[in-house]
Symmetry: C2
């Protein structure tokens, strides 16, 4: 056999592999920092030999287009290949990008209306309690003013949290509770602890949009399961578990964000059975607990913190300015989570926990909550009526909380409405920001506490009229 | 050819591959959650065919010993395969485990002496300033008490930080500065932004031990480069860059932890040239800045924040109880870092930044620093003398700061001394906790501000005598 043609055929095959990789990079289906298909997979996909792919990859390394990570694989290289959340998937419309909504809401100045934001106006928060707490801390022992916290955080606050949880039927000893710097950091630490890059995680569809951003930061794959007025659709959940073998399910207990729905006991029970069969861990985010009028079931209460991790904070009901959240979980998990917390944020300070403890145990907090719940109920009623008058209808009318998940008139696109309203100083939260499947383009989430200004409904009505 | 023997030979080979993987798991050289060698690598290593390894892996999956992650590879499964820092590498002696020292220091009660801890006693911190700041915040606007921070954090504080940096020759506009919840979170966000799992990162040997824990949490590979009294050993640094193609170098500017050494201008210049040639990003951790008597060179000042990221906090000089750090970096990096901060901790609150701003701009902070520097200088002199009397000698006598890196008498093991002293209520910081290469077993790091109690030297002398 003549050797020349054989070599040349091989050369052509090597070039074909190189061309395929180059074009995938150019088309951004392989982004900076992404791992290339393994040599074996690529060889099988292109029906060429493993050595052809090895040679092609090695030439691309020599060209500086990809880099080899010994023992791990080949990665698309870049100027510095920094990790950017925005680059991970094809750029969304900025209007339905979870980070865009967060940033708009966080950045908006005082003249802007923010019905799309996820928190109460400052004037609805526990101002008097915060002032009293700060004055109390100004007189506290010097250790509280100067020192790092212990690894799990202020024991007295963990005791208060244990008693609060016991009142919801969740048995958690103080040593099963760790303070964090926020509810978001609590979920972040759990993801660090339980997820590998590429793992699948079930989220509700729709769900709190920052869960999408957080999971992207962990390079995890979010799998959406439709949410019903009683909790996740169990049939779809079962299918998702079978199809994706997820490690985690992240959800809100009590009042669901963005729908305001509440998990029914029957759905909770089915979920837990399913989780047990499939070795799934559930993160139950309970940050809206204090808005409830009648307590809904908590997964952590049924499960006894076996495979449910319970997290929370007081950012929604007391103050978002003082940062403190918590995790309740199996004791041996708390040990590892404390190690991770120290490694990545050195354990936190004593001050935030001290302020929170003072403000929570101050007799005024309960009274403050009663006032807020009553104001929310009033705002809910008014907002439903005002939105109804312009053809925007609630998916359900929630029993409590600040969120109202609303359907726009047929054929109207929420992202387009959001874009129009932003020009008039109104920050909305369009449905697809909450939807992994992108099937909520006809929805908006309203925060009824941020929807008390009549101007909002004029702006909305005009935007609906022109779209 | 008879088919039977061939099949049986294949069967034997499959079993051999399975046995090798099983024994590596049993020996904990493959830990729960670890990725198995790729099919191709394993085939090459064992001189068997790819299909043999595929079959062996598939049988191990069926046995539940490993799991397949489509498109990613095979992983050792476990009950839930949670990620534990302690499991990543063979368990160290708990006494030289970075997390152990952090936890001992954070947990130690008031009767315990902590010469090994990395912060000042509460009574040395800015108590009066903190009390004034808390009283000022108790009278602040309601937004400061109730609201989330903007994505980059309190503009007035970023302005103060920009002016402070300008005084060290670092030009950073306020929009190039982002507040974080701590200096540690600042480095953590940078690692999230720039590192892929498996990436190499250069650290000083010795270095701040929590860098090791942080890099483990990122599944990055720490590569130690010997530290000299003038900064890292440039020859060893050059070799490390060539051998490991690191993405990052993390170091302290000004006063180095644990040695108290200071980077010389010549070393700084060489480092930056090397970084430029090899596309290396440098994280300069400046948390000890305010202890300096005469300002040392800052890498960020030479480099103009091109490839140096400058971070800091006031946990060491003002209060560790109020959590607030910062990052100064290229403007386009700050954008992505802000997205990552929102995704993983929702941006922080306004309170900590407000307290910090009040305490920093209060005329008392400068006076407090003068007092602290003078006390440290006194404690340094006394501690050097007292240690010298029992045969413990400083590697160098630092010009400023709290750390003294000391050599024990020949043949004495610091971990053994630490173990003995812990029983007598003294928490030490043995050298190998700081050393990637494990070559500092004859060293201890002393915090001179935590070494003022004469009992410490009695306990140490007795421990030396029995070892």
């Amino acid at each position: 056999m003549d050797e020349q043609p054989e070599e040349s055929r091989t050369g052509t095959r090597i070039e074909a592999v190189m061309a395929v990789i180059r074009s995938r990079i150019a088309a951004r289906s392989l982004l900076t920092g992404a791992r290339l298909p393994s040599v074996r997979l690529q060889a099988r996909a292109m029906k060429v030999s493993v050595s052809t792919v090895v040679e092609a990859y090695e030439r691309l390394v020599a060209e500086g287009i990809i880099r080899s990570q010994p023992g791990s694989g080949f990665y698309v290289s870049g100027p510095l290949a920094p990790f950017s959340l925005a680059e991970i998937e094809p750029k969304l419309d900025r209007e339905v990008d979870p980070l865009w909504i967060s940033r708009q809401s966080l950045e908006a100045d005082d003249g802007v209306l923010k019905p799309g934001c996820g928190w109460l106006p400052a004037s609805w928060m526990h101002e008097a309690g915060m002032r009293r707490a700060l004055r109390a801390l100004a007189r506290a022992g010097n250790g509280e003013l100067a020192d790092y916290a212990t690894p799990l955080g202020l024991p007295a606050l963990r005791g208060v949290l244990a008693r609060r949880m016991a009142a919801s039927g969740i048995e958690a000893a103080p040593q099963q509770i760790m303070l964090t710097e926020s509810g978001t950091q609590a979920i972040d630490l759990i993801c660090r602890f339980l997820l590998e890059p590429g793992d699948a995680v079930i989220v509700d569809d729709p769900c709190y949009f920052n869960f999408h951003a957080l999971l992207k930061a962990h390079r995890a794959k979010a799998v959406g399961v439709p949410y019903t007025p009683n909790g996740p659709d169990i049939e779809a959940f079962t299918e998702a578990v079978q199809a994706h073998a997820p490690r985690l399910y992240i959800t809100n207990s009590a009042i669901h964000n963005p729908t305001g729905a509440v998990l029914s006991p029957v759905t909770a029970h089915r979920l837990l059975k399913l989780a047990e069969r499939s070795n799934l861990v559930i993160v139950e985010d309970d940050i809206f607990a204090d808005f409830e009028l009648t307590p809904a079931p908590r997964l952590a209460a049924f499960d006894g913190l076996a495979r449910v991790v319970h997290i929370g904070s007081f950012s929604k009901t007391l103050s978002a300015s003082v940062r403190c959240g918590y995790i309740a979980a199996r004791p041996e998990w708390i040990e590892s989570l404390a190690d991770l917390k120290i490694a990545t944020s050195f354990g936190g300070g004593r001050l935030a926990a001290g302020i929170l403890l003072a403000a929570l145990t101050d007799g005024g907090y309960r009274k403050h909550l009663e006032t807020v719940r009553a104001r929310l109920a009033g705002a809910m009623e008014t907002t439903v009526a005002r939105l109804g008058a312009i053809g925007i209808t609630p998916w359900i009318v929630p029993k409590a909380g600040m969120f109202l998940w609303c359907r726009l008139p047929d054929g109207i696109d929420a992202a387009a409405i959001a874009r129009t309203c932003l020009k008039e100083g109104v920050v909305l939260a369009p449905g697809n920001a909450f939807s992994q499947s992108g099937t909520a383009s006809g929805f908006l989430r309203f925060n009824v506490a941020q929807s008390t200004d009549a101007r909002l409904f004029d702006v909305l009505a005009r935007a609906l009229a022109v779209s």
